[in-house]
């Protein structure tokens, strides 16, 4: 009886509140020798506690990408908050390579806070960088991610992607007749999720505009698959296709002027490009089999896509002026959903090696050396999306029957996972740099 009531209550809660699917990050695999870094808890001059612990957010950021190990504050010998208080010996004893300290103060004469941070190389006893960032209390998380970006760049030489966001689709099954489909947006680490689109009909393929201000997606709300564009800030949206058959897979060109898409209006799915200013369509492929999953090369001059013209799906590339597509993958039973890394040479894709292995993994194929590296060991992997700095790939998979988001570094050494607290999550799309 108690159980019954409990379930009933849960049902009530789920049916009444449209909550974004909260994602809770878990680090599942790190590198063998992570760089030791001490992030001292930032001091705060105010009396009421702050909503975010900047030091903890920075530590979490750096550990999530796997290359760092943060020293637990309980092991620290001192808690400096500025350069004058730093004794490098305290950190050498603890075998730390780097040290981050900071303090948060009221910004004089305003509601804002100032966050001062300083970053040190312990071995060289040298301050590498220091800054003051000013913002509202509600922006503390953004400020923390920005500090992580700077630290990451100082150490690795690569721009950090901690201020980026992800789009994903969540599906919350209520009953056989009712499932809520949502397109949600969150920080890259799953925090601060919000619902952008909600429907009782399937939603698919969320994609970012290159400036991060708009999304394109596929909605079945009219009972037919149609492409929509929505402004994130205002929620304002417009339907941009209404062709017979499949209208799917919208992807913005890197210059933002065009949308590649799949239309089956001429008999079978083919790749088209729509000029967003004129709505004019250019057909890129013309084949009776299925051509789908377009993605742009970085120079906007060609599109890669999946085609099963030889029987099974393989990845091809075609210039946007049209012409004969070049086949890129050969040594797999099923290779699909290709996306170039920023270097333009490595192709992330979904791969099933042989008919027998029956496992779909995320892999990288180097089109110059023809080398293939399989990055994952789950068996229902799909929808790979690359971080804008090219360091990590987020993808969807199933674990224990649930759809979850996983991330893996491009060298396969680091993994983290974003399971949803409720329902299935899938089709992650990593934003471009947003600042």
């Amino acid at each position: 009886m108690r159980t019954l009531r409990y379930i009933f209550l849960l049902g009530l809660i789920f049916s009444k509140i449209a909550v974004a699917a909260e994602l809770n990050i878990e680090i599942t695999q790190g590198v063998d020798n992570p760089i030791p870094i001490a992030v001292v808890p930032f001091s705060w001059e105010g009396t009421s506690p702050l909503a975010e612990d900047i030091g903890a957010v920075v530590s979490a950021d750096l550990q999530q990408v796997g290359e760092f190990r943060a020293l637990p504050p309980s092991n620290m010998l001192s808690m400096p908050d500025e350069a004058a208080e730093v004794f490098f010996r305290d950190w050498r004893i603890l075998a730390q390579d780097y040290l981050l300290v900071g303090k948060i103060t009221h910004s004089p004469g305003s509601q804002l806070v100032q966050v001062q941070y300083e970053f040190f190389d312990v071995a060289r006893e040298q301050k590498l960088i220091g800054e003051v960032l000013t913002g509202s209390v509600s922006q503390l998380r953004d400020i923390a991610h920005e500090i992580s970006n700077v630290v990451y760049q100082q150490v690795t030489g690569t721009r950090g992607a901690f201020s980026t966001e992800i789009l994903y689709v969540s599906a919350q099954f209520i009953s056989p007749e009712l499932t809520y489909y949502r397109i949600e947006k969150s920080d890259y680490d799953g925090h601060r999720s919000q619902i952008l689109v909600e429907s009782q009909e399937p939603l698919m393929s969320p994609a970012w505009s290159p400036d991060g201000s708009q999304i394109a997606y596929l909605s079945f709300e009219t009972n037919l698959p149609r492409i929509y564009i929505q402004e994130i800030a205002t929620g304002q949206r417009r339907q941009i296709t209404d062709f017979p058959g499949i209208n799917s897979s919208p992807v913005w060109s890197p210059d933002g002027s065009k949308l590649a898409m799949v239309l089956s209006k001429d008999g079978s799915p083919d790749i088209y490009v729509m000029d967003l200013a004129t709505s004019q369509l250019t057909r890129l492929t013309d084949h009776p089999r299925a051509e789908t999953e377009p993605s742009w090369a970085a120079d906007s001059r060609s599109v890669i896509f999946t085609s099963d013209r030889t029987g099974q799906p393989q990845i091809y590339q075609v210039p946007i002026t049209g012409g004969f597509p070049e086949r890129l993958t050969f040594d797999c039973f099923y290779c699909s959903k290709g996306r170039f890394l920023p270097d333009g040479k490595n192709l992330v894709h979904v791969r099933r090696d042989t008919r027998e292995d029956n496992s779909y993994s995320i892999a990288i194929f180097n089109i110059e050396t023809q080398r293939v590296i399989t990055l994952t060991d789950t068996s229902l992997d799909e929808s790979p999306s690359v971080a804008p700095n090219g360091s990590m790939i987020m993808f969807a998979t199933k674990v224990g029957g649930r759809g979850i988001l996983d991330a893996v570094s491009i060298d396969g050494r680091v993994k983290f996972r974003l399971p949803s607290a409720q329902g299935d999550v899938r089709e992650p799309s990593w934003s471009p740099f947003l600042n």
């Binding site: 058959g245 799915p269 999946t306 099963d308 959903k337 779909y360 799909e382 199933k398 899938r426």
Partner: protein, 179 residues
């Protein structure tokens, strides 16, 4: 009595009744009819009885046919083998009945919803679902349906009939539904 001899027996009765000399017991049971063939006392009555029996037989056949068509028209989900977009040969007869039904009901409109199992990529599965729906659409058209009566839509792997990760669940999800 085996079906072959039954068929032969029926044919004999039919031939006799056409010649106007057949007789039949009032029971209408064909097996009982043979012994009274020689009775010529009431030709009119026996002819009428034979005609009635024939009419009843045809009615029964028509009923059986209607029941079969109704069952066929109630069959609205068709399953597909893995990686295959052509419907199963065993569904051919049922689909032919759907096609002829559309042909004789010009105002009837249907929607074919194609689905795939969850393996592989979502957008490719959308293409696979459409191809399955089209394979059925084309066969309905071959059987007299008009293209304008049929709308096709693919849901890919977005609307599984069964959310499990077993082969049995996948089999249920690779389907086309007539709606």
């Amino acid at each position: 009595m085996g079906t072959h001899s039954m068929k032969f027996f029926r044919t004999t009765i039919l031939a006799l009744s056409i010649m106007g000399v057949a007789a039949c017991s009032s029971s209408g049971d064909e097996e009982m009819a043979a012994p009274v063939v020689a009775d010529t006392s009431g030709i009119d009555a026996t002819t009428a009885a034979a005609a009635r029996a024939e009419a009843e037989r045809l009615a029964r056949e028509r009923e059986a046919q209607q029941r079969m068509e109704a069952a066929a028209l109630n069959t609205t989900v068709f399953y597909f083998d893995f990686d295959v977009s052509e419907f199963m040969a065993s569904d051919r007869d049922v689909l032919a009945i759907h096609g002829r039904n559309l042909a004789s009901n010009n105002s009837r409109r249907i929607r074919l919803e194609g689905h795939a199992d969850e393996r592989g990529t979502r957008e490719y599965n959308l293409a696979l679902g459409e191809r399955r729906a089209n394979s059925i659409r084309d066969y309905l058209v071959v059987n007299g349906a008009s293209l304008s009566q049929i709308e096709t839509v693919s849901y890919g792997e977005e609307r599984p009939a069964n959310t499990g990760q077993t082969d049995a669940a996948y089999r249920l999800n690779r389907r086309v539904e007539i709606k």
